[in-house]
């Protein structure tokens, strides 16, 4: 065990009153969080919702609810990450030039360098690992079992455990805001800056354990999704009939299952350095700091495709639905997804082309990186040909999908630039790169937002408000353009990344433009929240039947909306790639099954939540070096896992009669909703559209 700077006590470790930051911004955030927390607690108590919360959400193993909780965690963290972005943009616009003013103890701007560095590190960590990843895992959780006609995931208990471990990671990141500090060494953890000598505080430990714990959750989730897709498909759902989103989910989870352990090893070795004084990644005494870069990006680059492949899958579901036509080149699309997944393993070194590797090495990785462009380009062309001779409708999900397609074009252009070392050398660590990967992540964000509005009615039974959705889309898109075009531009002016103070006053107009752009994002958040509120308020006018869009194609739209907890009353038999279209053609849409059967379902359990709580104790103890807490939590986790393995009573049976009753009620409600929707808006939202070309 190494000695650390500052005081330490057996009871509280490094924790003391001094760990509470005295910055007014953090104090404001703290008060805001506490008030919000009190509000939620008061509501829960006043409305007597504690039992409901416990039974229906906290102890659930239902894949849809777990998915929704993943998405809620992701959206909350997305907001936190956005606030970080707002703070960074504001700092840079204020701190430009030697005469720029300083506030709150900073020489320039309002954030001292050490604080700014934590803000950008938190932004990256949160956006990738606690916003994009949970939302995508959540969407896969919701959609994949429905698309393949399963009742739940292969391992429902494991699924809940994955969720709560992710939540623990997010909680640790949020905790670091109010107690201690966060890492200042970037979301990638630049070695040897993350070593104890250069980061003696608890910030790096927060970063390290938050990622470590949540990535255990993601790995478990990946194993679960793969098992689900391989083993739980409905009869008739051959590989050739698997919906394209499920294909991308399969490829992406193969990436996750194989790459997240590498991250675990990299962070584990860093942990040994920081806690036991070993020298894996130090500069001296036999350490090799570039080994960390290698290990990190061997995970990090596959992770990039882990987030983008499901987004491609979402686009491949949305575009055919709103073009009222099958996806062009299904086989090619599947092949392209797996090609991207395969190549993702051989491109990691392009994240440090400037390390000084020989031109032979750099050429290999340059060409490998460019090869990714081939399947990606194929995908873009195939989407375009899906629209060709279709009948495009520009509902909100379609707008997001089109936006994602155009983001992909821009990201592809700049990606091909960066893949070429001579180009890369001149912009490698500049804001041009920042703009590039944000463009690519915008593909993910657009895909996610499209998918959320696309599958929302499936989960909740009513559609999101269309007019506000459009406003959300346009304000978000204007924000994206106004932020990132100036950012690309300032990259060519030689502006490097991660600057809390800009020496060059000529950057000012671009900084102002980016600040205006971030204002548009703020407006877009307002519209999003308002959209959720208005849609919830008017939900009875916007109820939908099984097929929420009138032109949906895949199996999930066969189940009633909202989907009952058992998904399908009778496991459907699959006849075609676009099953719903096939049934529509046969006139079978909405037909009731001949008879109902008993359904075995997994029982709720509080064990995953308990393990999550213990993991939070473990993480917190490790960060602050409170050894009694880590020991107790760790032993308790092991004992809980062992104890749970003896529990035999994990399932129960829903009787056929009960299923019939629920289905009858759902059918009645759907019919009423359909009538209400038709009379309210006068649109033929529920009439099949392809039968009369």
């Amino acid at each position: 065990m190494v000695n650390v700077q500052g005081p330490w006590s057996p009871l509280l470790g490094r924790l003391s009153l001094g760990a509470i930051p005295d910055n007014p911004i953090i104090a404001g955030a703290f008060i805001f969080s506490v008030l919000l927390g009190i509000l939620v607690l008061v509501y829960l108590t006043y409305a007597d919702r504690w039992g409901y919360l416990w039974r229906e959400w906290l102890t659930t193993v239902d894949h849809k609810k777990i998915g929704v909780m993943y998405i809620i965690i992701g959206l909350v963290m997305l907001f936190r990450g956005f606030i970080d972005a707002l703070m960074m943009r504001t700092q840079q616009v204020l701190a430009d030039g030697a005469h720029s003013p300083g506030f709150l103890g900073a020489a320039h701007g309002y954030l001292v360098p050490y604080h700014f560095d934590q803000v950008y590190s938190a932004h990256g960590t949160i956006m990738i690992l606690f916003a994009a990843t949970p939302i995508l895992v959540g969407l896969m959780n919701v959609v994949v079992p429905l698309q393949i006609g399963a009742r739940d995931m292969a391992f429902p208990y494991l699924n809940a455990l994955g969720l709560w471990l992710t939540a623990v990671g997010a909680a640790l990141v949020m905790l670091s805001l109010f107690l201690g500090d966060f890492s200042h060494a970037g979301w990638v953890g630049l070695t040897p800056l993350t070593e104890l000598a250069y980061s003696p505080g608890v910030g790096t430990d927060y970063w390290m354990w938050a990622i470590q714990i949540s990535s255990v959750g993601t790995t478990l989730g990946a194993a679960n999704l793969i098992a689900t897709i391989v083993k739980m498909r409905a009869p008739g759902m051959s590989w050739g009939r698997l919906p394209i989103f499920t294909w991308t989910a399969l490829s992406t989870n193969i990436i996750a299952l194989t790459s997240f352990p590498v991250l675990g090893v990299a962070l584990g070795l860093l942990g040994l350095d920081r806690y036991f004084g070993t020298h894996f990644f130090t500069a001296g005494l036999g350490g090799n700091l570039m080994l960390y870069s290698d290990l990190f990006w061997i995970w990090g680059h596959p992770e990039v495709y882990f987030v983008i492949l499901p987004a491609f899958g979402m686009m491949s579901e949305i575009i055919p639905t709103f073009s009222e036509k099958p996806l062009f080149g299904y086989v090619t699309m599947v092949a392209a997804s797996f090609a991207i997944a395969g190549v993702s393993w051989s491109v990691w070194l392009h994240h440090f082309f400037t390390m000084g590797a020989s031109p032979r090495v750099n050429t290999f990785f340059s060409v490998a990186t460019m090869v990714v462009g081939i399947p990606t380009g194929v995908k873009v062309f195939n989407w375009a040909f899906t629209v060709y001779r279709g009948r495009s409708r520009f509902d909100t999900p379609m707008m997001w999908a089109i936006g994602a397609l155009f983001m992909l074009l821009v990201g592809g252009l700049t990606g091909m630039m960066l893949a070429m070392p001579p180009v890369n050398y001149s912009v490698h660590n500049s804001v041009f790169v920042v703009a590039h990967f944000h463009t690519m992540l915008m593909v993910v964000v657009y895909g996610i937002l499209g998918a959320v509005s696309y599958w929302f009615p499936k989960v909740f039974g009513f559609r999101l408000n269309e007019a506000l959705g459009k406003r959300f889309f346009w304000s978000f898109t204007i924000g994206t353009i106004v932020v990132f075009i100036p950012m690309y531009t300032s990259g060519f002016m030689g502006m490097t990344r991660r600057l809390d103070y800009l020496t060059n006053p000529a950057l000012m107009p671009f900084e102002i433009a980016e600040e205006i752009g971030i204002g548009f994002y703020l407006v877009s958040i307002y519209y999003f929240v308002r959209q959720l509120y208005v849609s919830l308020r008017d939900r009875n006018a916007n109820r939908v039947g099984a097929d929420a869009w009138g032109s949906a194609r895949t199996l999930e739209w066969l189940a009633p909306s909202p989907v009952p907890f058992y998904n399908f009353a009778v496991t459907p038999r699959v006849h075609a790639r676009d099953e719903l279209v096939w049934r529509r053609g046969q006139g079978l849409e909405g037909a009731a099954p001949p008879r109902y059967e008993d359904i075995p379902m997994p029982r709720n359990t509080s064990v995953p939540l308990a393990i999550g709580a213990l993991a939070l104790g473990l993480g917190f103890g490790l960060v602050w070096r409170i050894w009694w807490l880590t020991d107790v939590s760790f032993i308790a986790i092991i004992l809980t896992v062992i104890a749970r393995s003896f529990v035999r009573d994990t399932d129960y049976v829903v009787k056929a009669g009960e299923v019939e009753g629920i289905e009858k009620r759902l059918r009645q409600r759907a019919a009423e909703a359909a009538r209400a929707a038709t009379s309210a808006s006068g649109i033929d939202a529920l009439r099949p559209r392809e039968s009369n070309p």
């Binding site: 509470i20 910055n23 050490y114 500090d181 966060f182 630049l190 040897p192 800056l193 000598a197 250069y198 003696p200 505080g201 130090t282 500069a283 005494l285 700091l289 009222e324 036509k325 099958p326 996806l327 062009f328 080149g329 090619t332 390390m355 000084g356 031109p359 050429t363 340059s366 060409v367 460019m370 462009g373 081939i374 380009g377 194929v378 062309f381 375009a384 009948r391 155009f406 592809g412 630039m417 893949a419 070429m420 001579p422 180009v423 050398y425 001149s426 912009v427 490698h428 660590n429 500049s430 060519f492 002016m493 030689g494 490097t496 990344r497 991660r498 103070y501 000012m508 102002i512 070309p693």
Partner: protein, 320 residues
Amino acid sequence: MWARQYSSIAHRIGRLVRSTAFLPLLFLSGCSAHSLSRQFLIFRPAGPLSATDLRFTIFDVAVMLGIIIPTAIVTTFFLIRYRKANSTAAYDPTWSHSNLIELVVWAVPLITVALLAYYAYRGTYAVDPFHPRLLKTAQSAPGGTPAPPLRVDVITTDWQWLFIYPRQHIATANELVIPRGATVDFHMTSATVVNDFFIPNLAGMIDIMPGMRTKQVLVADQLGTYKGYSANFSGGGFSWMGFKTHVVGLKHFQDWVQSVQHSPVHMDYAQFNTFAKPTKNIQGKTFEFSDVKGRLFDQVIEGVLKGRVYTTQLPPPGSA
């Protein structure tokens, strides 16, 4: 009275808004369109290395735009032409496969990538920081009197630059002086964490790592002063970790070397350890040192390999 006071406040706010509204324009006009274009350092190469980088950038963008612009136009056209509201457009609700189109959509990116990959190979060797093929061929070209090659050892600390001229036994901090036309051979290492050597007008980025040595070879064609940066985040003083690069005539350079050789401040390993204490160079100070020991660069690497760190103290609690 209230109304008058209100109007006077409103007037003042209005004046403030008006005065700031033109701020962006002021910055633009203050430096004019011409000098703004000079700010695009990447587009203003002052040496063969950065000129080559730019050439490849333009080529790459041109090829990619050749694909991306038609794709964007065709996609937009499809979306508009085959919109639901347009009842005159064809509708083919089952069409989803065509061997010919499949062939084309795989062939187009494949050929593009093959072309770009070949140029990536050429470019990587041309500007390889250790042995740029480009300079080898340039040197063998006849004409002109090339200045003798110059060796500069670069050491980064938290958060300063030390440039050692080992054959001249001098060193400078946060300021680099090189003669025009000379092949400058940089050997680089860091005393603490990873930095990145970047002079946008002259050469692309190359990492500077503790306990290791990286290289960059460059030639400057044009006289002038160019901005240099550390491009890789290295901690609290990173934003101020810039340096000026003066490209001067050969005669001027020799005079300058002589003047620095008379500097009263010396530099050896003990002196370096004082210099390397964490320093935020907010004022942009530069220093000159004479009588520099030739082994200093190797000593710093050896020191780091033996576990020497220039420790950062824990920031005061709550300073976050």
